[in-house]
Amino acid sequence: MTKDLLSSLEQFKNTAFQTLEQCGSLDQLSDLKVKFLGKKGQLTEILKTLGQLSDAERKDVGLKANQVKELLNGAFSTTEVKLKRQAVDEQIARERVDIHLPALPDIKGSFHPVMQVFQDSKRIFLKLGFDVDEGPEIETDFYNFEALNIPPHHPARDMQDTFYFDDGRLLRTHTSPVQIHVMENRKPPLAMVAPGVVYRCDSDQTHTPMFHQIEALLVDKDVHFGHLKHVIAEYLQQIFERDLQFRFRPSFFPFTEPSAEVDMTCVFCDGKGCRVCKETGWLEIMGCGMVDPAVFKHVNIDSNVYSGFAFGAGLERIAMLKYRINDLRLFFENDLRFLTQF
């Protein structure tokens, strides 16, 4: 009797394992589990006859039956894991796409490169604590020239070819008139920048009749040229996103005294000398100086009490150097092939 039972258990086990091995789906697997191990399954059927055995025999057979059950349970779990993995693998294979096909195009707009420099410049100066001011593009002779110490019939007027209107007004030739508007309306201490569009009656390879400048002005007690150097270095190093060396060359602007031109390390050759910097290692980048007392006089600021610095830089020039653009005129041709590069 015991022997019979043990052999039928053994037979049951072998059959079950063989069937499991051939099982190909999770549905079939759960059917098999009911069939072999369920409440009304084959193992239960076999064990029903257990009652007819003696205690000792029952213990032997019970032990064997439990072993078979555990073995089978384990086999079922393993098979389940295997089948689940198979199912996922099949799903993945089914859902596989050609990843090399082009994507749904991203909608890409672009900022004008000069406007990027414009906005970056504003941000840098706001962070430093400078106000941002604006002024009219159509100006009077007083604001554009006279108040900036450029009297009529002065050769300094030749430095800036001017567009005029019939009523004597003009298109501002620089952003410096904003200095005057600001100093007329606010009292020192003053720290301001004025980015904006300016115009000169000139058009060739290296000049466009319209371009952009940024003007900076700091007026306070005891402002000296060293402060100017600091702010210029701060601004240019941030806008070019790199360390730079500077050289200040004495020059002349009617509204500053002393005046200087600022040269910075050539960004094309790191100052080693190349075609762009005419082998000097330096690039001219802006004009600057200490506010001329004659300018202070026009706006009733006492130059014995206050001093100040001012500088003005061309934003197109900065954009050209920063983005390696070799033709100024591209900025205003509005060619998509150019604009979408930025």
Partner: protein, 800 residues
């Protein structure tokens, strides 16, 4: 201005220790910017004097000669086409391998079968003249084989200086030498006159027969005149002709070259008249007192007006003072007696006249920037000495009238100004030494220097000007870098300045490309695009060209042109945006109005494999604009746009309580036709200042998040076609229960068999939510149907 290295070295002994490159950098760092350095030795490398020792006709070509050209040590066969080549003549020979000034490289060639090793050159080929006929014939003194730079007296290096307008004193070799002397502490030799002259500067003893009259109040500070009689006009010697050439002037004859030489040396413009054509030997400085025409020596008729400064003889004008001589008294080949003039004229008057007439001469350029009257006589003596040296003749005494003596400027210079403006301190001794180097008289008195400025430095009038001189000489590199103290407050910015980046970024994120157009455009284009009051347009008085002649009253015309230029570039849609001012004159008021303007057209994606094919329409624009307004919490309402050039059936105007804020829509069919635009093009214009004024006035205020779920219901209504969705939304807004959180229109249709005539169907998705409690289905249904019922009563709408 151009200066010669060789000449500077002659005037400042010891300077030749410095290479041209070092000298250039010294000048640049002292404020006399060197814009370029040119070595004629390098430019003429490979070019030597060739002597034609034998010349034969080419056997197979009538116009070619076969020349044996000697360069001393060697002889070359050169085939030459110039008609003026003669045996025994000396010409510039470009040897094999030479790169000509125009870039041509000389290689061995065969001309009609005969080998030619080199090229004999004309003045044009040397880059010396714009035109020339035949070879450049060199003098007999030229040595075969000698370098051309040497033979032409051009073995020199020149510096092109960008002299700033305040430095009239530096527009001469003397001027540059003065600065160099201060910088190098070398001693100038102002007495050096010419390469082949070792005598002293002298002047004539014979009485001068010229009568000088100054008949202007204050436009002529000093006038000097003298004569040289019995001279002979010849070509200039090689050294002088060469110097003229290197300095960019054409060599004319010995007397004219002498006048130019003196100007380049001293900075004094000088003039020589043929004495035969100065009536009664009178030279009168006078102001034109009526409008008259006068022919200057460039053969141009010049229209003069009252106040223009003239030099007249007994009969009439002989020159435009300080600008240009007259054709009538020009030096000719047969001139024997000359009258010399060295003077000082009003900078302002010379500039006014020159500017009005559009003349810019070496003379007017210098007078405009100030010429020192104190050194007029000295310049005159140099001129006389040089002319006698070059052309012979008998000089006379110099007649000198100096009615307006130069008063030298005296400046009180507190040393504290240096520390105050430059940030470094210098002792009185050092400062005084620098200033004396500039020929200032300096007396020290404690911390104050009393400085008398030399006559040539008219730009130095105040202590601050002296600070600049110290900065030039002591160097700006010595200024210590220091962080400034900035006002301790929040920086201010205009409302538009603060928000303009948000505006542009909104559109760039949506695929727009930012453009920049010139502020001026062409009248013709404006007329084509706008229907406008043209009296408001602002014309430039001196435009660069017709297509840049009027300030734009709108950005649309230029944007439409940019569309036309680019629309073939991209298969997918085009989107442009620009934020800049437009200009109008209303009455006497000039209005600059910042506008945020855009254009879009085409298909968002072009052809694609994703099933995403549609063309842009009005509702894309509406979405972008409304999205922008929502971002800034700007409340608007809409109405149909009736403004030109918008399509009346497909355009919208956004209004605020302060007037129209924006238009968006399709361009009018008539405009599309006129511009030959075939695809639908949409544009928008937003009043940027108005938008900025409304923009994000309030910061967002956080609202607690509801933990209760939202419940969704759909609603389909049948409404009369005339009912505006804007009105319906407003009504819903009024009637809605507080639990209604969101409502979205997702479908609209009219026509078809299921709807009666004159009706449309509107479908909405509505979400309900109560933050206090979880809404049951029943509660939501109650709220929903109560709303439907109210809408039905109020607007006569039926549930579908």
């Amino acid at each position: 201005m151009i200066v010669s290295y060789k000449w500077l070295c002659r005037l400042l002994p010891g300077l030749s220790e410095m290479t041209p490159e070092t000298l250039a950098s010294l000048l640049t760092m002292a404020g006399l910017e060197v814009e370029s350095v040119t070595s004629f030795g390098d430019r003429f490398k490979g070019l030597v004097v060739g002597e034609v020792v034998q010349k034969e006709k080419h056997p197979d070509a009538d116009k070619l000669s076969v020349c044996q050209v000697s360069v001393g040590s060697e002889q070359f066969q050169v085939v030459c086409g110039a008609p003026n080549v003669v045996a025994g003549g000396r010409y510039p020979l470009a040897t094999l391998g030479t790169t000509m000034p125009d870039g041509l490289v000389i290689k061995p060639v065969k001309l009609r079968g005969l080998a030619s090793s080199g090229m004999l050159c004309s003045a044009k080929e040397l880059g010396l003249q714009a035109e020339s006929d035949g070879l450049y014939t060199l003098s007999k003194n030229a040595q075969a084989g000698q370098s051309i730079a040497e033979a032409l007296g051009m073995n020199d290096v020149i510096f092109e200086l960008g002299i700033t307008p305040n430095r009239g004193d530096a527009l001469s070799h003397w001027g540059v030498v003065r600065d160099l002397a201060a910088l190098t502490k070398l001693k100038p030799n102002y007495a050096f006159l010419a390469d082949d002259f070792s005598g002293a500067i002298t002047w004539g003893e014979a009485p001068c027969s010229v009568q000088v009259k100054i008949e202007t109040q204050n436009k002529c500070a000093r006038f000097t005149a003298s004569e040289v009689r019995g001279l002979k006009i010849t070509a200039s010697p090689a050294w002088l002709a060469g110097r003229m050439q290197v300095l960019g002037l054409r060599s004319i004859n010995n007397v004219v070259d002498a006048t130019n030489y003196v100007m380049l040396l001293t900075g004094h413009p000088v003039h020589a008249y043929d004495a035969r054509f100065v009536a009664d030997r009178v030279l009168k400085v006078t102001e034109a007192n009526s409008n008259l025409n006068y022919k200057t020596l460039d053969d141009q008729d010049r229209a003069l007006t009252t106040g223009d400064l003239l030099i007249e003889d007994a009969k009439g004008p002989v020159g435009l003072a300080g600008i240009m001589g007259g054709l009538n008294s020009e030096i000719r080949d047969d001139t024997t007696d000359v009258i010399l003039e060295v003077a000082q004229f009003s900078a302002e008057q010379v500039r006014k006249t020159a500017k009005r007439l559009g003349i810019k001469t070496d003379s007017s350029f210098r007078f405009e920037r100030f010429v020192n009257p104190d050194s007029v006589l000295e310049a005159h003596r140099i001129l006389q000495t040089l002319i006698v040296h070059l052309a012979g003749g008998e000089p006379t005494q110099i007649v000198d009238q100096y009615p307006h003596q130069l008063i030298k400027t005296k400046i009180e210079f507190p040393l504290g100004q240096i520390k105050r403006l430059l940030g470094y301190e210098l002792d009185a001794q050092t400062v005084a030494t620098y200033l004396r180097g500039l020929e200032c008289d300096v007396t020290e008195q404690g911390d104050v220097l009393h400085v008398t400025v030399p006559g040539h430095r008219s730009d130095l009038t105040r202590a601050v000007d002296l600070v600049e001189e110290i900065a030039r000489l002591h160097g700006l590199e010595n200024v210590p870098i220091e962080a400034p103290r900035l006002p301790c407050k929040r920086p201010t910015e205009s409302s538009l300045g603060r928000s303009e980046m948000d505006f542009i970024q909104h559109f760039v994120e949506r695929g727009f490309v930012q453009t920049i157009h010139y502020s001026f455009t062409e009248t013709q284009l404006l007329r084509q695009v706008l229907r406008d009051d043209e009296t408001q347009w602002i014309q430039l008085k001196n435009p660069l060209s017709e297509d840049l002649a009027v300030m734009r009253p709108s950005l649309l015309p230029q944007l439409l042109m940019t569309y036309k230029k680019n629309h073939l570039q991209s298969e997918a849609g085009l989107k442009f945006v620009e934020l800049r001012s437009v200009f109008r004159k209303i009455g006497n008021k000039v209005c600059e109005t910042p506008m945020l303007v855009g254009l879009y057209s085409g298909e968002p994606y072009g052809r694609n494999r994703f099933g995403l094919r549609r063309s842009f329409d009005l509702f894309d624009g509406k979405g972008w604009l409304e999205g922008l307004f929502a971002k800034g919490k700007v409340n608007t309402s809409i109405e149909a746009c009736e403004t030109w050039p918008y399509h009346p059936g497909q355009s919208v105007t956004y209004k605020t309580d302060q007037g129209a804020l924006a238009h968006v829509g399709l361009i009018h069919p008539e405009l599309a036709q006129a511009l030959k635009i075939k695809k639908p093009v949409f544009v928008f214009e937003i009043q940027a200042q108005l938008l900025a004024d409304f923009w994000k006035k309030d910061l967002p205020r956080y609202q607690a998040l509801s933990s209760q779920p939202a419940v969704f219901r759909d609603l389909s209504l049948v409404a009369p076609v005339e009912l505006s969705v804007q009105d319906l939304f407003q009504e819903i807004d009024r009637l809605k229960p507080k639990e209604l959180k969101d409502i979205r229109l997702f479908d609209v249709f009219s026509g078809g068999s299921s709807l009666p005539e004159g009706k449309k169907s509107l479908s909405f998705s509505i979400s309900y939510e109560d933050s206090e409690r979880s809404l049951t289905d029943e509660q939501v249904n109650q709220l929903h149907f109560a709303l439907v019922e109210k809408l039905g009563q109020k607007l006569g709408l039926e549930l579908r």
